[in-house]
Structure formats: C-alpha cells, structure tokens
Symmetry: C2
C-alpha cells in the first residue's frame, strides 16, 4: 500500500478516486484518438448549432464550431439591449466559455465564404476546413427586399452591434430634440417608425413607447418625451400575423393602450434621411427608423447547390439532410422544413434547438451504421411581449393575453436564462427596471461621435 497514490487517498474517497481515474483514462484515450476521429463541422453558434455541438459531447467525433462572432446570443432578448434595459453581456456568452469543458469540441472564430459539398470542405476567410459531417446553422439576416441601401437608414436587429446602433440612434434622437429650436427638427427627432409588426417589431415599438412615456419622462427640460410618436407599420392587415387573429387583435389593442400608433395595410415605398414614404404618398417625417420587416436566409444556403425557397432557405429532407448528401444537415432559420406539404416551421429558437439535438442523434446513428430518423417538432407554443404587463401567448390549447401572458413570458425567459451565468444580473436589471421604471443601460457609445448636426 506504500504506493505513490497514497497521498491522494487522504483527500479523496475511493469512489471519487475511481471517478477521477476513469475520467482521466477516457480523456487520454480521446486525445490519443482525436486526430483520427470523424470530424463534424458546425457552422453557426446560435441556438441550433450550439445545441448540436453540446449533444455530440459524448459521441466519438471531433466537433468544430465556426462562428463569425465569439459569442452565443440570447436573441429573444436582443430588443432589450436595443432599448437600453439590458447590457450586451447580460444576453451573450462567449462560445469558448460554453464549450470549454467539452474536450471533443473546438471553436473557430471565422467567416465562412462557401461550402464545397463535393470536396467536403468549408471555405473560410482563413483557409478551408474539411468535414465528414456538416451541420449548417448559419441563420438569417434581415432582408430589405432588394432595397439594400435602406440598411443604413433603417437598421435591423440581429446582432449585438445592431442593438447598440439602434440604442445609440434612439437615445441620440431625444438629445437632438432637447437641443434644437426648430419645431420640425424636434418633431422628426421625436418620431420613431418601426417597420414590420412581427414579434420583434411589436417588442421594439412597445419598448420605445415605454421609454418615452415612463423612463425618460423627467430627464429633459425643453421637451416632454411622452409626446414622442411611435409608429408601427406593416403591410399585413394585422400585427403578429403568424398568431391567431384574436391574439393579433389583443396585441393591437395593448399597443394602442401604451401609446403606439399602429398602422396596418401600409406599404413602405421609400426610406430616406428624413423619414418614410408610404405607398399612396403619405409621408412620415422621422429621424429614427427601425427595420423589423423581413428575413433572408444566409447566402451560405445557396452554396450547397440544392433547391432553396423564396427567402433563400434550404429545402431539407425529413431527416434534415439535403438531397444527395446524407452527411450534410441544415437546421434553424436557414432550413425550410415542411414535410407532407405543411407550412414550413417558423424561425424560432425551440425549432432550432430541437433540430440541433435531432441532427446530433442522426450523426450518431450514421456513425453506428444505422439509419437517420425523421424530425418531428414538438410545439410548446409561442409568445410575444409588448410592454409592462402586456403580452400575448399561444400555448396551442389555450390562448391568453395581458398581465397573465406577460407573467408567462417573464417566467419562460427566466427559465431559459437559467443555463446562462448571466441570469442573476438579468433578474436584478429587470427588477430594477420594474420597480424604478428606469433603464440602466442608457449609454450612447459608438465610433460615429461626434454626430453631424
């Protein structure tokens, strides 16, 4: 018993020692074989890609996750960064930190240019990466329907940088209104147009209205921020068009109650430096325009050489692979999954996460020489928040709105954030905002300073 292990025995029980030993044996074996293991490349560290990477933790593969950003983003709360309630770090977590304990996974920060499915290679800005299995989870950006020059005038909301830019513009607009002595400039600075009444547009419009009417109300001396005009435009005849009609109507009513001007059936004809022109010629003079009107799938989908839909989404088979390439899977917002001719699944995080897990299972099946399985989406419902005590929720069997839906929204998002280390600061920030009506992150930062007058 006089072995070199003795000192350790003093500190650990035998069960702990066994666990330690087996872990180190497994790790050593994995390291030895790592170079020869099949390689799974995952493009995109959003909800789908990250879930796929995590689900491959115990599978004998090398996982390489490639993303243009170094962080995973909790996108459902991105509008809260844009509206100064939360800080970027509250809703983002470095991908390396998430995967640091997963020995078979590595992260590459890089921009994927295209995919060569014949050579089984992903071509990035810094060279190419070979794969045995590929998971494309590159998501979507906002689309300007061919009017790309609108992007500068009306930023959309997909990344942290987008959110910080919108926050900067919104706060700066009130500053300009406070300073100017020109009535027209002031009116235009205090008009906020949100184009697109899907969940993001509804959340943005509600939050801007709340900021103006509550948060900023005592901050200025020459303007009354509560006089701000928040206009929510959509070409569709109702807000939240993917929701049940009674929820759309409830959302419209709740938006109107908190001071948002909802204008439906309106088509945006032109956006320029001074505002928005609607079809029919109506003009809205507005310094700040936010784009929440449309998505276009990542152009990477097209480089796969298989059919895509009108939004550029890759039409996947029912096991989420692409035709002719059982080793290539597309998931999340980039996938058009519509088995049996049903409507394609919407771009929601639960869809992406379930697909990520399913693809990991399929890869494991292929490695074992088995067959891939058909993906089935388990719909737990959807919800959108509008403002304090205002939301709509659709759990399939029951639809509800108002305070109850808002509490449900809060509950679900807190639960989701549990896996994030940032949970506690988010809760504190929310509690602070709830009780004081304040928003702590009202900071104007960015390299464009000083602004032109």
């Amino acid at each position: 018993m006089e072995s070199g292990w003795m000192p350790l025995v003093k500190y650990f029980t035998s069960a702990e020692l066994c666990a330690l030993l087996s872990v180190s044996v497994i790790e050593t074996l994995m390291n030895v074989h790592q170079r020869n293991l099949p390689r799974v490349v995952i493009i995109g560290g959003g909800f789908g890609g990250l879930e796929a990477a995590k689900a491959l933790r115990k599978v004998p593969v090398r996982v390489t996750l490639i993303d243009r950003q170094n962080h995973h983003l909790f996108q459902p709360l991105l509008y809260q960064v844009a509206t100064a309630a939360l800080s970027p770090a509250d809703i983002a977590e470095p991908l390396r930190a998430i995967l640091r304990g997963q020995q078979n996974a590595e992260v590459i920060l890089g921009s994927v240019r295209r995919i060569d499915v014949e050579a089984k290679e992903v071509i990035t800005g810094d060279g190419s990466v070979a794969y045995d299995y590929l998971v494309v989870a590159a998501g979507a950006r906002h689309s300007y329907f061919g009017k790309e020059h609108w992007e500068k005038l009306a930023p959309g909301l997909k990344s942290l940088d987008d959110a910080l830019e919108i926050r900067r513009r919104m706060l700066m607009a009130f500053e300009i209104a406070e300073k100017t002595e020109d009535d027209a400039v002031r009116r235009s600075a205090m008009t906020f147009v949100v184009v697109g009444a899907g969940p993001t547009g509804v959340e943005m419009a509600g939050a801007i209205s709340e900021i103006a009417r509550v948060t900023l109300v005592r901050d200025f001396r020459h303007i009354d921020p509560a006089q701000a005009r928040v206009v929510l435009l959509d070409a569709a005849p109702r807000v939240l068009p993917t929701y049940a009609p009674e929820l759309s109507e409830s959302a419209r009513r709740q938006l109107t109650n908190i001071g948002v001007e909802v204008q439906l059936g309106m088509i945006v004809e032109e956006i320029d430096e001074s505002g928005v022109t609607l079809k029919g010629g109506t003009r809205i003079m507005a310094r700040t325009v936010v784009w929440a009107a449309g998505n276009a799938a990542s152009p990477l989908g097209a480089s796969l050489g298989v059919p895509t839909d009108r939004q550029g989404r890759v039409v996947v088979k029912d096991d989420l692979s692409i035709p002719g390439h059982p080793e290539v899977f597309v998931i999340g917002d980039l996938a058009h999954f519509a088995p049996d001719g049903a409507a394609p699944l919407p771009g929601l995080s639960p869809v992406a996460m379930q697909q990520g897990r399913h693809v990991a299972k399929n890869i494991r099946a292929l490695l074992a020489g088995g067959w891939t399985g058909k993906f089935e989406y388990f719909d737990k419902g959807t919800m959108a928040t509008i403002g304090r005590h205002a939301a709509v929720a659709d759990a399939g069997f029951v639809k509800f709105s108002g305070l109850l839906a808002w509490l449900a929204w809060l509950f679900v998002h807190v639960i989701f954030l549990v896996s994030f280390r940032n949970k506690i600061t988010v809760l504190l920030n929310w509690a602070y905002a709830y009780f004081t009506f304040g928003r702590g992150a009202r900071l104007i930062t960015g390299r464009d300073w000083p602004l032109p007058p």
Copy 2:
C-alpha cells in the same frame, strides 16, 4: 372646513400637507424666476463637474452641464471594462438620470469648441451658450507626445469606447493566435505591451496577465493562453512613480509574481503595426499595444487665454479661478493647482470632487456679494490594484501592500459605487469573477468586423 382641500386631508397628515405645499411653492417660485437667475455653465460631467452641479442644487442659479458624452463615467474602474470583467453600464450612469431630480439643472449633450471669456460665452457645435459663472472641468485625454499617429496603433483608455476597443483587440489577439499556423504570428498575437507604468498601466498589465493565466486557460485547443507575454514598459526607473519607493518596489514584485514582465528605464522610439521599438534598437513584436503613458489636458484650457503648464493644464489661482476672471473656475485634471510653489495636485477623482464642491461654495459666496475662499485639498491617500489579492495603498501615515491593500481597494471602490445604482450588479460581477475566475463580458463587438487577416 368645507374647502377643496378636504379630500387631500383624508390621505395626508397635516405635516405632510405642509411639506407638499412648501415644496410646490418653492418649485413654482423657482420656475417663475428661473429665466432671470444667474446662469452657471459647467463643461464636463466627470467627477469635478458633476460634483459642482450637485453642490449647486439649492443655490438660486440655473445650472447648465455640457458634456460630449451622455453619461458620467466611474473612470477608476474603466480598465475592468477593457479587460472584460464589467459591462459599460456597470460603471456609467446617464447624466440626465443623475440630475433628473435637480430642477435647477439641465444637461446639454454637445461638444464645446472654445470659450470666449470676454463675451462670457461657451461656443459649442450647435451654437453658443452664455454664462454668468463658468466651471471648466473638461479633463484630459492621453497624450502621445507629438506622435499622434500612434493613437490608432496603441489606443489609450479614457472613454467607454476606448475600453471596448481595447477589449476587442485583446480578445481578438487570442483568437488569431488560436487560428494561425505561423509561429511568428502566434507569438506576436500572444504578446501584449502596455506602455506606461502609472496606475492605469499597472492595472491593465495585471488584468491582462490574469485573463491569460486564469480566465482563458481552458478556452482554447491549439494555444496555451498562459504562455502569453505581458510586457509593462516605462521610461521611469520604477513603476507607480508618484508612489513611495517601497510601494513601487512592492508593486513591481507583485506584478512579476503574476507573470508580468516589467521593463523599466525603457523609452519607446517607435510603434508600428507589428510591434514596438525601444531606444537602443530592441524590438518587441506585439499585435496588441495599450497606451497608458501620458496625459494632455483638454485643448479648451488654451482657449481661456491664461497661462498653462507643459501638459496644457490651466494654472489657477488659489480659489480655483483664473487670473482676471473671478467668474471662471477650472477644476480637476484640467487645473494646475500648486499654491505656495508646491507640486501640482495629481489628476485624481478626490481632487476633482473636492474642487467641484469648493467652486460651488465660491459661486454662492460671490452671489451673496462675499469673497471666494482658498482651496485646500484633504488627502485621504491613494491606492492602485494589480490583480487578485495584489495592490498597493498609501494612506499617508501608513503604507501597505498585498492582500490587505487589495481588500482596502475593494472596500473603497464598493463604497464609492454606493451612490451608483449599478452597485449590486458590480458586486455580483465581481463575486462571480472572484469565485469562478471568469470574466462575463468577454464579447467581441464593434463595427470593424470582419478584421483583416
């Protein structure tokens, strides 16, 4: 008793009613007269300017605070944003939010171009603002000693944008090291040079070393971040040259212990894209260079038309006013205050805050037809932190270093932050970082993406 006040009486006690009435009477009187009250313009919302504004709360003047940023910055913790421990919102608070309850104060977001002391006007980018009394608290920027082209290569640390830029560069350097297959590129990416061993340089070098050796240690698969080289350069023969020699020596030893290479008596001859050249020809190949070497006072000081020192600081009289203009005061980092031929006071927040309060008192005295008083600095001591459990402190009668100094630093900064609403999230972030060795704000954001290879 059947008056219109009766309903109120049901809800308030008579004492409360009196208080309510007197407050509204005072506010009405103040509003009526506000237009005719003397106007105090304060340039700069840092420690000095903000303190002056707050100290004028009950003085019958109109206070106008002008700043280029919309927020007050808790600058002593700015290096923690640069090193990803805290978020911008943790150490910054909107000026409007701070002064919202002070009815006699307004905030203007604007950039002051120059001061016309004869016309009693401050000229901003959007027009001019007349004053009866002026407090110039415009602070300092970092100085490159005439080599302004170094600014892009070696950013300094004064604003939130500076901090986010340094954070981006530091995190990106590790990403590049992880990706590259070129040994020279990797070595250069993993070398961090901090120029200037004053408090900011010492804090930055210590924090970068801690990030590499502790925070990131399991994040990468192809590099060992602990191999990073952190070089702290200074032309002076010791670190923290304004501190007592024994504390300098202790700081140097503590820095060395946590892996910082301290190189003293080194003069930087050139900085370029690939590194730093020292006088004598030694070359340090480094992708990331941080500038903490020198300050230059705001150029606004020169526009006052009175003598300035070599760093551009305005030489003030012993009541903090400038020669020939008893209505103009200069405080904080922009002031050179050296009565009786003593060394000028250093650029520290306690100096600025005490001067801000003193100037408010002087303005009140002038309004009452009295005389201004001489400023006297009450020195409570100085301290600098180096890393976990490592710091130096000088309380005048006693000097100490190591764990005790670190605890003192922590205590003082927590107490200072009490007046900030962000205190609780800062405490949580610190507790998180302390116990997990993690840093939650490791986010690469910024418009320069994608970087050139």
